[in-house]
């Protein structure tokens, strides 16, 4: 049971963190919870589909379908996160002021919410498909004794949900006027990490073969597969053996997001000192 719990929890970590960050980032946008819930449900349904078609996906594109599929959905997530950050930079100030008419915020925030719901859906889908396959395997091989394992898996899911809540509540401790800045920076790092992961899948598929040498190997110090490694992997894109190309893509993504955000930000005005 413990093994199942650990495996499932491990997979849920990434999705859990992403959901927590997105929840915090969209806190003051009306209707955001509903969109995020849609994202989660969509992700769960999607993972079942991916699990069912796992074999077909793997065999597509002469055997590298899994890698290309992963790279493609990661790329979509990177674009959506970048877009959200740019959008936030240009409208964030209005949203931060919670006294503004909520309806206006909803209307303006909808597109950005769709983008983030998609990101949540993708995070859930990627982790979810593996969980579905793993639990399915338990059910068909172990039959009766599989119940304890299923319970373990369920507890793992609950723990993942707890991690979401913890991330969310932790971020809420940040004063509202700083929250946007903090979540924007977190989302930028999240996006850069995902871009580096997408690069990894393209490398694995043999699509790109330049700069493939390992930039560093810190697997002995902090394994990417350990819990802390996984958390850092999600939050800042930590990798214990990145290739030079991954490193380049990571830094490039950060730079592009930074420049885009600056380009679209309204001209800085002198902020009046506010009582909170």
């Amino acid at each position: 049971m413990l093994a199942a719990l650990i495996i499932v929890f491990r997979e849920v970590v990434e999705a859990g963190l992403v959901v927590g960050i997105v929840l915090a980032a969209t806190r003051s946008v009306g209707g955001s919870r509903l969109w995020i819930a849609f994202g989660i449900v969509g992700g769960v349904l999607g993972s079942c589909l991916v699990a069912i078609f796992a074999s077909a996906i793997a065999n597509a594109f002469s055997g590298v379908g899994q890698e290309l599929f992963n790279a493609a959905i990661l790329a979509v997530a990177v674009v959506m996160l970048t877009w959200h950050n740019v959008w936030m930079a240009s409208h964030g100030r209005e949203l931060a002021n919670e006294l503004k008419a909520a309806s206006e915020a909803v209307a303006r925030g909808r597109k950005s919410l769709l983008a983030l719901a998609l990101v949540v859906g993708i995070a859930v889908l990627r982790e979810g498909a593996e969980i579905v396959l793993f639990l399915y395997g338990i059910v068909i091989t172990d039959g009766g004794s599989g119940l304890a394992l299923l319970l373990g898996g369920f507890l793992g899911l609950v723990l993942g949900g707890g991690l979401s809540a913890l991330t969310y509540l932790g971020l809420l401790r940040i004063p509202a006027r700083h929250l946007f800045k903090v979540t924007s920076v977190m989302i930028a790092f999240l996006a850069a990490g995902l871009a580096a992961q997408a690069t990894f899948f393209l490398e694995q598929a043999g699509v790109v073969e330049i700069l493939g040498d390992t930039a560093w190997d810190t697997s002995a110090i902090l394994s990417e597969k350990s819990l802390l490694g996984r958390v850092l992997h999600t939050l800042v894109g930590y990798s214990d053996q990145p290739s030079f190309l991954q490193l380049l893509v990571y830094l490039g993504a950060l730079l592009v997001i930074y420049l885009l955000t600056r380009a679209f930000a309204p001209a800085p005005t002198v902020e009046p000192v506010r009582q909170s």
Binding site: S55, N59, V64, L68, A72, E130, F134, Y136, I140, T141
Partner: protein, 112 residues
């Protein structure tokens, strides 16, 4: 939005073309997963050359063929086969395992 999706699909189609051509002309080693064991459990490959591992899963349960040492992580559904690409390895020993039963189901690749 539609434009973006279209562009992504086109890009995907373009980048996959060379892969289709290349997958055929490199060495592929067969590994079969049955019960809790890989056969063979020990694979010898030449160092410094990219190669493929064909992993066939004869179990009902899905598996995840994974190696931290040579960076592969691929799901293998029950009764199906996947092709994993392994980058040129330096001489040495590399382990792989089924991530869903990582304690018991392991194997080694020696590159020399």
């Amino acid at each position: 939005m539609l434009c973006l999706r279209g562009a992504l699909l086109c890009a995907l189609a373009l980048v996959t073309l060379p892969v289709v051509a290349r997958a055929e002309d490199q060495t592929a080693y067969q590994i079969v997963l049955k019960g809790k064991a890989f056969a063979p459990e020990h694979l010898k490959v030449p160092a410094g050359k990219t190669f493929f591992i064909k992993v066939r899963n004869d179990n009902d349960a899905p598996a995840e063929f994974e190696s931290k040492d040579f960076k592969v992580e691929k799901i293998v559904a029950g009764h199906s086969e996947i092709l994993a690409r392994v980058k040129a390895l330096k001489p040495g020993t590399y382990t792989f395992f089924d991530d869903y039963q990582a304690d018991e189901t392991r194997g080694i690749i020696t590159a020399e």
